[in-house]
């Protein structure tokens, strides 16, 4: 498969978009649903923001936002809650994208956490995630007084997300009260809230991993190169391949980074994100690998292995 199957696929898709006016495809329906949700937020909320995590789901979300408000640019800023431990390639990509779409990019780092030197190696993944991500996010929302924040979570990612609303309320303390979720019927979203309260909005709730990849493929959406295979320096730890992305990574005695052909299925903080060995370096190859693969997407994320704190609990405390 060469690059032209790509473009062929793309223009065929566009053509079909024009002819196939009767039965919309599943991707067209998902796209319309996401666009509707985003417009609803912009129409009814005072100060929305899009949480941008630089991963593939964020890329799709950003792409949908561009479409939703075209020809206007999306009428809200992007915000990245930076743990300072992301892959270098993610930072480069983030800055390039913000420039390209012409949206304001807010980068927030939990300065207290930074001052205390909180990091995954010194404090463990649970503390690191809590301080730099969960607390960082709360700080940022308080600081800028955003009343609605778009997030790229999908319901197929995990059992507990399967039942979360698309519009999910947070108290003024950013807590999620699972016992008190609002009924959500048809596409009638209730965005009313008291002062200080906010809403997390998940416009791609109903997309699956395959939908995301297929859409990236069809729409030619840029993604971080780390998703494609390349020779990268990695060490093997507890069965995971961890990339040595910078000098902050302490090597154990006898540990020597090896150059291996790897790629990433999800992206997060590099010390917490396992790579998979792969030769896939085109989107169809990635999709093929995903379809043939035998382990679920989030297995590569160390945070999910922390059995002590379930996703439920993290969410109640304000983790996205």
């Amino acid at each position: 498969m060469g690059p032209d199957t790509f473009t062929n696929g793309l223009s065929a898709h566009r053509r079909r978009l024009q002819d196939m006016t009767i039965n919309l495809t599943h991707l067209q329906r998902l796209e319309a649903e996401s666009i509707y949700i985003m417009r609803e937020v912009v129409a009814e909320c005072e100060k929305p923001v899009m949480l941008y995590s630089v991963g593939k789901d964020s890329s799709v979300m950003l792409h949908l936002a561009k479409k939703a408000f075209y020809p206007a640019p999306p009428p809200f800023p992007l915000m990245h809650v930076d743990t300072t431990w992301k892959f270098k390639a993610m930072y480069e990509f983030r800055n390039r994208m913000a420039k390209e779409v012409g949206m304001e990019l807010i980068v927030h780092i939990n300065q207290e956490g930074l001052a205390q030197g909180v990091g995954p190696f010194t404090h463990g993944s649970a503390v690191h995630t809590d301080v730099m991500k969960t607390q960082g996010l709360k700080q940022a929302l308080d600081k800028y007084k955003f009343d609605a924040a778009f997030g790229g979570a999908r319901r197929d990612e995990e059992k507990s997300r399967a039942k979360e609303r698309i519009f999910s309320f947070r108290s003024a303390q950013h807590r999620w009260d699972p016992k008190n979720q609002r009924a959500e019927l048809w596409n009638l979203y209730n965005t009313r809230k008291h002062k200080g309260e906010s809403i997390r909005v998940f416009p791609i709730s109903n997309w699956t991993e395959l939908d995301i990849w297929q859409y990236i493929h069809l729409e030619n959406i840029p993604i971080v190169p780390l998703y494609f295979s390349d020779k990268r320096p990695v060490v093997e730890r507890d069965g995971s391949l961890i990339m040595v992305d910078d000098e902050r990574m302490p090597l154990k005695p006898g540990e020597k980074p090896q150059m291996r052909s790897v790629r990433f299925r999800t992206l997060g903080c590099y010390p917490l994100t396992g790579a998979v060995e792969s030769e896939a370096n085109t989107l169809p190859q990635i999709i093929q690998e995903m379809l043939l693969t035998t382990s679920s997407e989030r297995q590569g994320r160390a945070i999910d292995h922390d059995a002590a704190a379930s996703m439920e609990k993290k969410k109640q405390e304000g983790y996205f």
């Binding site: 498969m1 696929g9 566009r14 079909r16 978009l17 024009q18 006016t21 009767i22 919309l24 495809t25 599943h26 067209q28 998902l30 319309a32 666009i35 509707y36 417009r39 609803e40 129409a43 561009k66 479409k67 939703a68 408000f69 020809p71 206007a72 640019p73 319901r155 059992k159 507990s160 399967a162 039942k163 016992k179 008190n180 979720q181 609002r182 009924a183 019927l185 048809w186 596409n187 009638l188 209730n190 009313r192 809230k193 008291h194 109903n206 699956t208 395959l210 493929h217 069809l218 169809p284 190859q285 093929q288 379809l291 043939l292 693969t293 035998t294 382990s295 679920s296 297995q299 439920e312």
Partner: protein
């Protein structure tokens, strides 16, 4: 995630192309506990290879540990997890599952449970195209089956798949299957369900799920999966064009586009359209999407329309085909489902959202509620969680709508509480009530403004609220005397007096209190219109009602006056001996004792009776009227 297709390995591009044009089917599964719903969904996920190996090995382990199948794969465990969450008290009204085959992507709304069933099912059903109704072959059509079917019919799902499960436990008997199907069809016809496909299955062994298997050679119909893959989704594109305006896109002076989701029909460039409620007509100048301009767009697409003429439409308006527009009305008959612990009370002012429009609405009256098990009609004074009522709705302004039956998007609504902001109800519109279309507000030539000028006063409503015995009547009386002495035209509405006449049919239950206040608010509004300064002296304990009253008046016409006397002081005074009676249990629903008082959050006037005498309090009110320009300066 091994999708069956061998194409994945051999020709990924061909595979992707074939998957690009899948359609999407949303369905809901209904059934009583233990009918096999989880097992069925688990199997569908498993069979469509949506299960990864790590999940599969977890499933194997769990099946041995806690499974109900003697160590064999228990598919139900794939979708459970809900049970545990329920124990933690988490509301799980609906969980969504995803799977896809070569032909379709599926979103399954799985609604667990018993108690909250109505709320959960209605929520899950609201976005579904089809319903899989599970029946245990041993038990046949049960009360629950009837209830679920009724709810499905309310939401307007037309495709029913009757999955008669556990056929293995009835020896795969055709007779049993036929009998249940007959039974069900007889009942379903009564509630207007007629597109029914009955399929005998065994969720556990897989008969007629993907493959027919050898156990029921007598069954010639489709398997469950092939039926789900091929059933025809209702088409909304053949109806007349309608698009509620969601957002007005104005990036610069040269572009003004109306963004929205087309809810029915299609629109072509150049077509004549009408904007409602204004009724202005124009032509579609362009159909803009994120992929550029297109010539035609259909139901289900989000687009941005620009028009040839300057048309001042805003969010909540509806753009429709010019020669076949929808109607507007401000009163309806509707089905209303209560979704919240706080009951829906007739007379209370709620916010109603239909498509992209939000208006004020009151339920008035509840005609009856429906027993979902027997379909019996029962009298009701309020709708409590999970109740389904047939009600009349009154709005503060006309709304562009269509009956739900005809157009789901322009006929469905939610009700939101003004105070808690919660979604307290959801419903479907049946038809507009004649009165709303015929009884127009009469515009008279001598109006409020003219009368105000003649009287040299701005009419307004001073609304005194506070505990019984707080001093409201005393203060209101003094205020009226002072205003009278300077030649102002006033009227005092006092709680007790009104209860002797206009409201003598009302008691003190929550819903009667709501109605009591509603009537007083309406009367005050008429009096303000007549040019008077109206003093209202009512306990009016609920914020929602006071806000409802406020909503009737114009800017600056409503002065909420909080007569702030601590309960202990009011009770110590006990002028009428009522607190004593209430404490003794002789008076029920007494504010402050066994019925709540919700103090105003931002009253225009607050009177601290522990600091001010009644005389000083009255002066404070009169001087406030002066500074607000309601009566002339001295």
């Amino acid at each position: 995630m091994a999708h069956q297709s061998d194409l994945i390995a051999s020709d990924i591009d061909a595979y992707l192309t074939s998957h690009q044009y899948k359609s999407l089917l949303r369905f809901i599964t209904c059934g009583s506990v233990d009918d096999g719903k989880s097992t069925l969904i688990g199997r569908l996920l498993y069979e469509s290879k949506m299960i990864f190996e790590d999940q599969l090995s977890a499933l194997e382990a769990d099946s041995k540990k806690v499974g109900t199948r003697g160590g064999e794969l228990d598919f139900a465990l794939l979708v459970d997890g809900l049970a545990a969450e329920r124990e933690q008290g988490i509301t799980i009204d609906v969980a969504y599952r995803f799977f896809s085959t070569d032909r379709r992507k599926f979103i399954v709304a799985d609604t667990p449970g018993h108690e909250q069933y109505t709320r959960n099912m209605v929520t899950g059903a609201s976005t579904a195209d089809a319903a899989v109704m599970m029946i245990d072959a041993r038990k046949g059509v049960l009360t629950q089956t009837r209830r679920h079917s009724y709810l499905v019919s309310l939401i307007g799902i037309k495709h029913i798949i009757l999955a008669i499960n556990k056929m293995d436990l009835v020896e795969y008997s055709q007779e049993r299957f036929d009998a249940i199907e007959r039974d069900y069809r007889a009942f379903a016809a009564r509630i207007g369900l007629n597109q029914i496909t009955a399929i005998p299955v065994s969720a556990v062994y897989g008969d007629n799920i993907l493959q027919h298997g050898d156990n029921m050679p007598w069954y010639k119909g489709p398997t469950l999966m092939s039926h789900l893959e091929t059933l025809e989704i209702d088409r909304t594109d053949v109806m007349p064009f309608r698009m509620p305006v969601q957002w007005v896109n104005r990036p610069n002076l040269n572009f003004r586009g109306f963004a929205g989701l087309i809810v029915s029909g299609k629109v072509t460039k150049g077509e004549r359209i009408r904007s409602l409620p204004s009724g202005k007509e124009s032509n579609v100048a362009s159909i803009v999407t994120g992929d550029g301009e297109i010539d035609e767009a259909v139901a289900g697409q989000c687009v941005t329309l620009t028009l040839a003429d300057e048309v001042d439409a805003s969010r909540g308006d509806v753009i429709s085909v010019a020669n076949d527009p929808p109607q507007s009305a401000s009163a309806f008959e509707a089905t209303l489902v209560a979704l919240n612990d706080a009951p829906i009370l007739p007379g209370r002012s709620y916010l109603l959202k239909l498509a992209t429009k939000v208006v004020s609405a009151t339920v008035n009256p509840i005609k009856y509620k429906v027993n979902v098990n027997t379909l019996e009609q029962l009298a009701a004074e309020k709708l409590e969680l999970n109740d389904i009522g047939i009600v009349e709705l009154e709005l503060d302004q006309p709304l562009v709508f269509e009956p739900y039956e005809k157009n789901h998007d322009l006929g469905s609504f939610i009700l939101m509480d003004r105070m808690s902001n919660n979604t307290v109800g959801a419903g479907t519109l049946h038809f507009a009530l004649r009165r709303s279309q015929n009884v127009q507000w009469q515009f008279t030539d001598v109006n409020k403004k003219a009368r105000a000028q003649l009287n040299r006063q701005q009419p307004c409503c001073v609304w005194l609220t506070g505990f019984s015995g707080a001093g409201k009547s005393t203060i209101a009386n003094l205020v009226e005397k002072k205003l009278f002495s300077i030649g102002r035209n006033t009227y005092l509405l006092d709680g007790d007096n009104v209860r002797h006449g206009l409201n003598k049919d009302l008691g003190f239950t929550e819903q009667d209190r709501v109605e009591n206040i509603r009537r007083v608010a309406e009367v005050s509004k008429l009096m303000v219109d007549a040019g008077l300064i109206v003093l209202v002296s009512f306990i009016s304990p609920f914020r929602a009602e006071r806000n409802g009253a406020r909503a009737l008046f114009g800017e600056g016409e409503f002065l909420e006056t909080f007569v702030d006397t601590p309960l202990a002081n009011a009770e110590a005074r006990d002028v009428k001996g009522l607190y004593k009676k209430a404490r003794a249990g002789e008076l029920k629903n007494f504010t402050g004792i066994d019925s709540p008082y919700e103090p105003p959050e931002a009253p225009e006037i607050r009177i601290d009776t522990t600091k001010l005498s009644p005389e000083q309090a009255a002066d404070l009110i009169v001087s406030t009227l002066r500074t607000r320009g309601i009566i002339p300066q001295e």
